[in-house]
Symmetry: none
Subunit: 117 residues, 2 copies
C-alpha cells in the first residue's frame, strides 16, 4: 500500500483502518463480514439487491452490505484464491459444500439474495 494512500473503506466509504480479509475496510465492515461469514447466515434484501452502501446506511440492508463485501473481494483466508475473479460460476470449481464455500467468503448464500450471472 503506497503511503499517503487514502484509507477509505471499499465497502461503505467510512475511514478504513487497514486491510481486513484482503480489502481495505473500516472496523465496522470488518466485524460485519466476520460475523456474517462465520455464522453462515443468509440475509434477504427487501428491495432489488442494489441498495447503496454508505457509512450512514450500511446498517439498513445486511444483504446488500454483504454482497458488497464479497463484490470488493473480501474473503476468509482459508484456501484457494476464489474463482470470484472469474465470476460466481468460477467459484463452483472450488471444492467443498456450498455452505463451506459460503463460509469461506467465496460465494453468497444460496441464490436467495444474489443471482449469479
Amino acid at each position: 500500500m503506497p503511503e499517503g494512500e487514502e484509507k477509505i473503506c471499499a465497502v461503505c466509504g467510512d475511514r478504513a483502518t487497514g486491510y481486513h480479509f484482503h480489502v481495505m475496510t473500516c472496523e465496522g465492515c470488518k466485524g460485519f463480514f466476520r460475523r456474517s461469514i462465520s455464522k453462515g447466515v443468509c440475509f434477504t434484501c427487501p428491495f432489488t439487491r442494489n441498495c447503496t452502501i454508505t457509512k450512514a446506511k450500511r446498517r439498513q440492508c445486511q444483504a446488500c452490505r454483504l454482497q458488497k463485501c464479497l463484490a470488493v473481494g473480501m474473503r476468509k483466508d482459508s484456501k484457494v484464491p476464489p474463482g470470484r475473479a472469474l465470476g460466481w460460476a468460477g467459484a463452483s470449481a472450488v471444492q467443498g459444500s456450498r455452505l463451506a464455500r459460503h463460509r469461506a467468503g467465496l460465494v453468497p448464500c444460496s441464490g436467495s439474495w444474489l443471482a449469479g450471472p
Copy 2:
C-alpha cells in the same frame, strides 16, 4: 446521532429515548407506531385530520397520531426512504400491495383518513 441533538419526540414532543423506526421518538410513539403498522389498522379522525399531537393529547386521535408518525419519517426498517419525499403519489412506485406498503409505513391506509395531494 448528531451531537447535542435534542432528545425530544418528533411526533408528540415528549422526552425521546432514542431513534425508533428512523426517527427520534418517545417510548409511547414507538409502541404506537409498531402496533399500528404491524396490524395494518385504519384509524379515522373524528375531526378534520389536523389534530395537534402533544404528550397530553396524543391518545385522543390515533388517526392524526399515525399520520404525524409517517409525516416525520417513521417507517418499518427494510424500507428505503420511500416515495414519501416525493409526496404520497411517489410511493405508488413501490412494489407490493397497498396493504404491504401501508404495513411498511410507506403509505397511510386507503384514503379514509388521509387524502393524498
